[in-house]
Amino acid sequence: MKNFSVKKIIFRERPWVWKISLLLALLAGFGLRMINLTNPPLDFASTRQLFSALKARGMYYQYVTDVPAATRQLAISLGNVGIVEPPVLETIVSQTYRLTGEYIWIGRIYSSLFWVLGGLALFLLIREFASTSAAMIGTLFYLFVPFGVIASRAFMPDPLMVALIIFSLWALFRWQNTSKWKWAILFGIFAGTALFIKNLSVFIILGGFAGVILGSKGLKRSIRDPQVWIMGVLMVLPVGIYTIYGILRLNLDSQFALRFFPNMWMDPAFFFRWAFIINSNIGWTVTLIAIVSIFLADPRRERPLLIGMWIGYFIFGMAFSYYFYTHDYYQLSFIPVVAISMAPSLRLLFEKFYERSSGLFPRLVLVAVVLVGLAVPVWYSRDQIVNSNYRNEPPFWAEIGDLLGHSQGVIGLTEDYGYRLAYWGWQGSTAWFTSADINLRYLAGQNIDLAQKFAQDTAGKQYFLVTMFGEFDNQPIIKDLLNSHYHVLAQTDEYVIYDLQHPMVQP
């Protein structure tokens, strides 16, 4: 085995240095994510965050006894927003609410904490992969890439999923190198939990697993290896049970609709857009280095895992082609892939660096360079976090909720499919299609008669609420229908409510 010629690594000579550096980096990563903690979670994937917030509140109110029964019932009913993944994070948060009271930002603390813990696993993995110095750089990238900072503080299952992906890859790599039962079982547990939390983690995890089996262990040997079977079973069992139960009992099969758009594979613009998404969220230079690194990796020990992860990511992108460029958080699991993949290049760079600059001064210069390089994305992320202020949103929606009377029978063209109205306005509503929803259905080959759809959706409804005026303008048919047939109940620059119960008398 290649005993890395990197003898003169800052951290290796002085283990306490890397331990303290890692601790500081993890704390700084967590601290950065705690800035502007109480800002309403609308800065990133607001629909998804409010979905979780509603769900967590609904769960919490099942235990709350000191509120009017109607409020309790309303919270539970508004929290019934459907099933996407098992509500693990929402359960944790709702249980925390029981101790602290309901604070929407608690989900943010958990997500940040999970992401930062993922950093610890990433460090351990890259350290085994390459070197301590490479591990430190990879971990810093993971913790402070601005897109990751913003996305990983969101109240959604993805940060936990990514952390678990990293833990499972770490266990997988340890198992590959040791063949011990302990690591096989740990991989199974981590991977199984990751898939259970969010099944989209399957691509990277299964890709890495297949890579190790095929490229490092060998297929024949693996088939006869009971450890492999246990790993596979543990990985699949929780999500398998949940999916079967979900399809049978929770209408989970509806989640598979409007997900796959293989026709996009034929469009070169799709791949170009994909590259743009990577460029803007992760950075093309680091991605290029990460890909090149695959070829610099040890063919038996390192390359299989890397190739497996990349193929997994590629299949992920092909399978969810539409979501890959409309939902940038689908790129979150790519951050650790890049961080891990960069390791062979970083190892090489550090080897050459120590070979040519053995003195203490160049090392201090290098540390200074890294710190300066860190300062820029940290400050940039901090700016983004501080400059977004959504504190005016809760009273706005509360006002509309009061106007609508927290009643049944509201349909709306409002932000986040009505989730803002539901969360802060305590007002349920049916979401009218946005242009994106309509386009998505056209893309899937469906034909929509908007006037007919309007008639269906508004049947029995009391009010039509509009707060997205750009969207309203984009749908002239609906705008004309409402304006020519219904009275306006209330109107400001920010919203208009149409009274569907008392249509205008047509001449």
Binding site: F272, I289, K352, F353, R356, G373, V376, P377, Y380
Partner: protein
């Protein structure tokens, strides 16, 4: 043992050459896209200043032009004063003599110069035995978003940046060969770079000193005649120009006003802004890789040359702190420094890639590099075609006709009156903008009394013309005074004309 032979990305040389050709062709193509649009997207005032100089030079000998236009154009040229030697402008004016006055000629030259800088990067990489790394550095140099915008601008900075690279190459070439021929070439190229724009002295002096110091003994350095010859050749053109500008032409001394703001150096936020602007321009990842790359050069000469370049750039920032945080193009000398720092890292990676038995890694690497290039080109293309400034031409022409080309005006303008002068053939003195006042305040000057300044500035003028709505909005004193005391004789989309001879009783 490391292979010290130069690297090639592909085993077949024509493939590597083909890649380089594609990069240059793409670099030129993207810079010439939307060529005939007006140069309003990037430091407009600076570009129109060059356009007025070039037109004045051209009209000076254009006997077919109406006399008033000829006189006006030459007066506009002379009024610009000396900042740098008008090399780009002279070249452009000379070209006008063959093809007529075309607004895009300066842009073509600027683009070509920048591309020529790319050739020097390849030559330097070759001298460093790192040809593979040279391709990465070239791609970075040609397709960095800010570089693409800046290198299309009709201003001397593109030529200066290219000459910085040529100078760095010649300095290193001299170091490698130590011949009289290479020493003289280094002196000439460095001298021309500094002549084109004197601020090139900062990175180049730093780089030259760094490289010479890498030779060891100071005594040996001081007694080496070649060092003195290089220094002499470098200094002579600029000294002659400064002598001419300061003592013969006399307008160069104006350029030293409002340039130095040492008070900014005490403000920590200045350094944060500097870092952010620099990182935004060159890209933080590239900056980090390049800095790390310095430590990977095999020879001390290259290493110290680049460290010297960095020190020079930092000294440059200390000397011009205000401009460093307000004028992004002051950071252009950093681009070649970063590009050269990428060479060893790029070379190290390419060396590993090309050592693979399969051809796939090389092909994949080249493909991804080109995809990155294509993305930057696409972004640049979008920013170029998304704006069309051509409709401005009739606007300024009509305004010029409305005012009258013989009128003596004072103007409150957002572009120092350049567009009205260039398209409308009307010029006059300028009323200070808010930015001008802020700059003077920063320099410790006390804002003068409004009425006395107004009377002084408008004495003998026919019209007060406002062509900047934001300035008009943000100068209530002026707005109130003009509307209360003078007749507004015309008003349109974005302009107000007051007749200074018609006082409101």
């Amino acid at each position: 043992m490391e292979n010290k032979e130069s690297t090639n990305l592909f085993s077949k040389p024509w493939l590597t050459i083909g890649l380089v050709v594609v990069l240059f062709a793409g670099g030129l193509g993207i810079r010439l896209l939307d060529l005939t649009d007006l140069p309003n997207g990037f430091y407009m005032a600076r570009q129109y200043g060059s356009l007025l100089i070039a037109r004045g030079m051209y009209y000076a000998n254009l006997l077919t032009a109406p006399e008033w236009q000829r006189v006006f154009a030459v007066a506009q040229w002379k009024a610009r004063g000396l900042i740098e030697p008008p090399i780009m402008e002279s070249l452009t004016a000379l070209t006008y003599r063959f093809i007529g006055e075309q607004i895009w000629v300066g842009r073509v030259y600027a683009s070509l110069f920048w591309l020529a800088g790319g050739i020097a990067i390849l030559l330097l990489a070759k001298d460093l035995s790192m040809r593979g790394g040279g391709i990465i550095a070239l791609a970075y140099f040609l397709f960095l978003p800010f570089g693409m915008s800046a290198s299309q601008a009709f201003m001397p900075d593109s030529l200066m940046t290219a000459l910085i690279v040529w100078s760095l190459w010649s300095l290193y070439h001299w170091e490698m060969h130590r011949t009289w021929k290479s020493a003289i070439l280094a002196g000439i190229l460095t001298g021309i770079a500094i002549l084109v724009k004197s601020v090139a002295v900062f990175p180049l002096l730093g780089a030259a000193v760094g490289m010479v110091l890498s030779r060891g003994s100071l005594k040996k350095i001081l007694v080496d005649k070649k060092n003195w010859v290089v220094a002499g050749i470098t200094a002579i053109p600029t000294l002659i120009f400064y002598y001419y500008g300061l003592f013969i032409n006399g307008t160069l001394q104006d350029q030293f006003g409002l340039r130095f703001f040492p008070s900014l150096l005490k403000d920590p936020s200045f350094y944060v802004r500097w870092l952010f602007i620099a990182a935004g321009i060159v890209g933080i990842t590239a900056m980090l890789i390049s800095l790390a790359g310095i430590l990977l050069f095999r020879k001390n000469a290259a290493r110290l040359m680049l460290i010297g370049g960095w020190i020079g750039y930092i000294v440059f920032g200390f000397a011009f702190p205000y401009h460093f945080i307000t004028h992004e193009y002051y950071h252009l000398p950093l681009i070649p420094i970063i590009a050269i720092g990428l060479i060893p890292v790029g070379d190290l990676l390419i060396r590993q890639v090309t050592q693979q038995k399969s051809r796939l890694p090389s092909a994949m690497f080249a493909g991804l590099l080109l995809l990155g290039v294509a993305m930057n080109m696409w972004n640049e293309r979008n920013s170029l075609v998304s704006t069309d400034y051509r409709p401005e031409i009739p606007y300024w022409q009509d305004l010029g006709n409305l005012i009258g080309h013989d009128k003596n005006i004072i103007e409150l303008s957002g572009d120092y009156g350049y567009r009205l002068a260039y398209f409308g053939w009307v010029s006059g003195s300028l009323w200070a903008t808010n930015a001008d006042v802020a700059l003077r305040t920063l320099a410790g000057q006390t804002p003068p009394d409004f009425t006395s300044t107004f009377n002084e500035e408008t004495a003998g003028k026919d019209y007060f013309v406002i062509t900047s709505p934001p300035e008009w909005q943000n100068q209530p004193d002026l707005r109130n005074y003009l509307t209360a005391h003078y007749q507004l004789i015309d008003q349109g989309d974005g302009y107000w004309i007051f007749d200074l001879h018609q006082k409101i009783p």
